[in-house]
Symmetry: C2
Subunit: 356 residues, 2 copies
């Protein structure tokens, strides 16, 4: 090894020791936080973690990119929190799904992760206190809203205390080894739209046939080597298809959104979101009237999603995400006014905008 390399390695060893000393001191502080809090407050504070990550990303002098700094401190907070109070996190199993990836992205590697068979089971585990946190998918850029999660959020006493965004990728797959003999491409309409430009550039001549789901597209491609499908990798594995072109989505930010649920929501972090659900009568202009208070108080709405009401009490329920925390005066005033107009309003929780 060259002298210079040896010197650099010794320098790295010295820095590692200094980091270890401070990491251990940080862990001792976390232990004391646990002792002070004992029985008084939740150990995991999503708003505090979001603030720490944002602050360090701002202080970051480089050369590491901000995401790399966040990724290291996510793990540091994860192991310190694990020492303070071992966390249990339930997610939609099996192990190795995107829900597990989302859980690890939010909680690092330290918690005890509990795979559940269904989304209902994740909610039940949180309600019964068998887990500290649950992670459930709520919106899939490909398949749209996850209805069962929306319905459970309406009915369950759990609170939303965090959000996680996970990138997802689209794969071109077929039973054939190459694209040469392909005659058609099956996929969900939204997936075809997501790969529109790639398809125009690479396979402009092939007809695109929208089907009910990406899994159905993969199943059809599995029956006929002249057909391709666009779907996620799990579908390729399930139906024994070859991936002919990976990651063909036009938008590299194609994501699935997950919510973190618990028996409490989060305090204000300075950059928050609030999720709510409210009822609206099926009357022209009803939803416009209901949303007026948000506009009046200058509260931005980042999502609005309607669902037919299941209870029969109302005709529609609307799921909305708004910017800000329910403790913010403007948000509080807007929610108060909305609550007076809507037959039903439930605030699902305020939580920090995804920090990592």
């Amino acid at each position: 090894m060259s002298d210079e390399l040896l010197k650099l390695r010794n320098e790295i060893d010295r820095l590692d020791e200094e980091i270890l000393a401070r990491l251990s001191e940080r862990a001792r502080c976390a232990q004391r936080v646990g002792e002070v809090k004992k029985g008084n407050a939740p150990f995991y504070r999503p708003e505090r973690e979001a603030q720490v990550l944002r602050r360090l990303a701002e202080l970051n002098p480089g050369p590491l990119p901000a995401d790399a700094v966040k990724s290291v401190f996510r793990e540091i907070m994860s192991v310190c929190l694990g020492l303070e109070h071992p966390q249990r996190v339930a997610y939609l199993g099996p192990a190795g799904t995107f829900s597990e990836s989302a859980s690890r992205k939010q909680f690092g590697s330290a918690p005890s992760f509990m795979p559940m068979a269904t989304i209902e089971d994740v909610f039940r585990a949180v309600e019964a206190g068998n887990t500290d946190y649950g992670v459930v998918p709520v919106e899939n850029s490909t398949e749209g809203a996850v209805s069962i999660t929306l319905d459970l959020l309406l009915a369950s006493p759990v609170k939303v205390c965090g959000e996680v965004n996970l990138r997802i990728h689209q794969q071109l797959m077929s039973r054939a080894d190459g694209i040469g003999a392909a005659k058609r491409i099956y996929s969900h309409a939204q997936s075809l739209a997501q790969c529109h430009e790639w398809l125009n550039r690479n396979l402009p001549h092939l007809p695109r046939i929208p089907v009910a789901s990406n899994a159905e597209a993969a199943r059809l491609a599995g029956e006929d080597p002249e057909s391709c499908a666009i779907a996620g990798e799990a579908a390729a594995q399930l139906y024994g298809l070859n991936i002919l072109a990976p990651n063909i989505e036009d938008d590299p930010n194609n994501t699935t959104r997950f919510l973190v649920i618990a028996d409490h929501d989060a305090g204000p972090s300075g950059k928050d979101r609030t999720s709510l659900v409210f009822s609206a009568p099926n009357r022209p202009g009803a939803i416009h009237t209901l949303l007026e208070p948000l506009a009046q108080h200058g509260v931005d709405m980042t999502k609005l999603q309607s669902r037919p009401a299941q209870s029969g009490l109302w005709e529609y329920v609307f799921y909305a995400d708004i910017q800000g925390h329910q403790c913010d005066p403007a948000v509080a005033a807007a929610l108060k006014a909305l609550g007076e107009r809507a037959a039903f309003l439930k605030v699902l929780g305020s939580y920090p905008v995804a920090a990592i």
Copy 2:
């Protein structure tokens, strides 16, 4: 918030700033290492990473457990290496499999991970230089050796430069909601053996029926609500079964072993393993004679696995793992003697014993 909590948080913020400063300085050192090495040596040195992790685990003053310290420094090394030279890691897809978990356990979050459709594709990607590293399963405590990996190791010019052990869990599953009506339990014989004590304690009255694979057991359970299966969670998801009891394996250290392959193996780290494959004639005592040099030179063998030879040139090939690095004088002498006795000997690579 109490004064004490506030003081602790300020202390944590100060420590985080100090860690960030040293992390950034470490990253600058890593960049300089990259400049010094440019074109001369592989950027990723598994032996160096193993040494760093072992050293820090030894220096660790607590209160964090050694595994937590390793987990933080794994991520620190991952993001620093990503800056030095962005790594590409191919693994047996789809995303979200145990192979992906193993890849992240070895390489942290920074590399660009490339899911491949088959184990052959992982080998081909490494051989063609389309990836820097490949991660392939080699031994599954449930299903035994992964034959295709063994066959490819024999034929391919790639080297083994690392190993990863991943825990796996066994689940009791059924179409029914409870165990009450169950009449039998299907599983692979090895899985039944792995859950022997749990079954004796909890379900001593149910007959255990060994079948070809855990997936086959889950398929059978999916056809009959009076049957249970023991299998991994992915099988429960695939066949729509409920998990009646999670993680029922008797040995909590039940693991699957993965190998990291590349165009180079690893230098000595002080605690290494060497994988080799050699041919043996089908003659009484032949294998005993072949292995004599290992015993003579005091080299421990940690694994021996026979495979019928496919080429017709030899009758059997043996895959062995021995302790130590091929640069260690005793190992080198033993390998030299073994090579003189065997018709064929190939050293697949020396690499650090899994450090995390």
